[in-house]
Amino acid sequence: MSAIVANNLGKTYKTYKKKPGFWGAIKGLVSREYQSTHAAQGVSFTIEEGELVGFLGPNGAGKTTTLKMLSGLIHPTSGEATVLGFIPSERDNRFKKQFALVMGQKNALWWDLPAQESLELTAVIYEIEQESFRKRLDELTGLLDVRHKLNVMVRELSLGERMKFELINALIYNPKVLLLDEPTIGLDVNAQKTVREFLKGYNHENKITTILTSHYMQDIEELCERVMIIDHGHLVYNGRLDSILAQFSDHKIVNIECRTQIVPMDFSLMGEVLELKAQSLKIRVKRSRITTVCRDLLALEGVDDINIEEVPVEDIIREVFNQNKPVA
């Protein structure tokens, strides 16, 4: 049985259109115009136990909505989901003990108490035995290097430390599914790195099924082998990260550096010129033409260095959004 199954999930809700201006506000008292927002439509996917899947999409694409539907916080308006064999919207206590949701920039921990107190409360709520609680706490705080901060008030912790404790709070009861909504947002580079390494290691060690939504390509690149891309509520891609490159990107980028001034000529015949400086050139070339273009560039006078790289995944994703092809 797969860990997570989503079948045609959809969420539509109504918002009131606010009329502008003073008289609009008064009119708004009597008659209201509704607007239907489709936060998610026809989202279907399956995730097996132990997978670490990335969930990409622009703001408002429906990532958080989907995660909330998987958590039971929101009832889907269409379709259904099963997580660990449970229907999330039934909010069975046994289900709740087996998964965790962590949302970046939102605190589950008590703001005005040391993290230690919040964690002890979690232990009692989730009925974790004292001995195993202590052991696990020790283990997790050690891994994330926050043991010395256990007795500091949460409001006085740095963003990075707070996120680490949020993760500990989520993992302390050993859930089988971990849902992360933008966990690295707002963190500095070092904190991001630590969190990423931790998540990767933890997922590997404990085979915990993980979904991670993020804006940062680095999160996705370093952690996820599989990626789902959602845009305007639709799932537009569901597959391996490296396959995106093959499927959506048929270009490469060629850089050359010259020790003398580049002789001006029409490079647009070779490909799309991205950057042309006195002694360097960056050009986007179709894969099929790479060898020919490289040969031609190398034939130029004074070429010192040539470099071929993939189009950044970020640009590819952006193109995917622009194309917005539904999943085959």
Partner: protein, 269 residues
């Protein structure tokens, strides 16, 4: 069930820790609420400068009523009030979502988040005034009367809880809900008056205030039972309304909470 006691023990401990960190706040609120109570006692003093009795209640009986009311509302505030009025904040910050994710009853979780020690102390201030009023009246209560009195206070707290819970649940629809707290205070305003005062009010109004929104009985019944005050509306009937009102308030609030929560999970994004 035992788990819930354990959870509550920790929440209480956390509240103590928190209060110790914000000692200044604790004392300030203590003074605030005490001031409020003394203002009410001063009002009684001013009124009784000009009259001997109000609808058959003498001065110290009225003081007893105000004291009992203060006790009930302060003890209620200590346990539940701050948490219920914080519901809009929980919704706004998304903390409610985290509570909903936890494997425990959401209504319980929302109701007991923090404990107010300053209110607890003020509750005892109210009790002191009740005792003082007894002394002034030369009234020595029997054991039964004392037990009935405290039982009455407990049930009265349930009525307060039910009412505030109903009002708070409305904040699922209305985001900024300070008006609802105001609603609670103004309704409870009525509870301080001797019920005999409403003897001249239309029957329907009295009925509404006794059972639908049981403000007329919530503080009056415990005091009347305690001090055997028979002037005013029929005491046995009032006791019936009191118990009925308690059951109705607790039940209605629990049902409405469930309804509100269902709306929340269907309507939000």
């Amino acid at each position: 069930m035992k788990r819930y006691f354990k959870i509550y023990k920790i929440l209480l401990r956390n509240s103590i820790i928190r209060e110790m960190n914000f000692a200044a706040n604790f004392w300030l609120w203590l003074i605030c609420e005490a001031l409020w109570f003394f203002a009410q006692i001063a009002l009684i003093e001013v009124i009784f400068l000009h009259t001997k009795e109000v609808a058959g209640w003498n001065k110290w009986q009225v003081v007893m009523l105000f004291g009992a009311h203060h006790m009930t509302s302060q003890f209620f505030q200590a346990f539940f009030f701050m948490n219920l009025t914080n519901l809009p904040e929980l919704i706004r910050t998304g903390k409610l979502d985290f509570i909903l994710l936890q494997p425990m009853n959401a209504q319980f979780a929302v109701s007991v988040q923090k404990f107010g020690f300053d209110n607890l102390i003020n509750g005892f201030v109210g009790l002191v005034f009740v005792a003082y009023a007894c002394m002034k009246l030369g009234f020595v209560p029997s054991l039964l009367q004392i037990v009935l009195f405290f039982a009455g206070i407990l049930l009265a707290m349930c009525i307060h809880y039910g009412m505030m819970m109903l009002l708070s649940s409305i904040s699922f629809w209305i985001i900024k809900a300070q008006g609802l707290v105001y609603g609670y205070y103004t309704l409870m305003n009525i509870a301080r008056y001797p019920d005999a005062v409403f003897g001249v009010a239309p029957r329907l109004m009295q009925f509404a205030m006794s059972i639908i929104i049981p403000v007329m009985v919530v503080s009056n019944v415990p005091v009347r039972l305690f001090n055997d005050i028979t002037t005013g509306p029929n005491l046995s009937l009032s006791i019936l309304f009191f118990i009925g009102g308690c059951v109705w308030m607790m039940g209605a609030s629990a049902l409405f909470w469930r309804f509100a929560l269902r709306h929340y999970t269907s309507a939000s994004s």
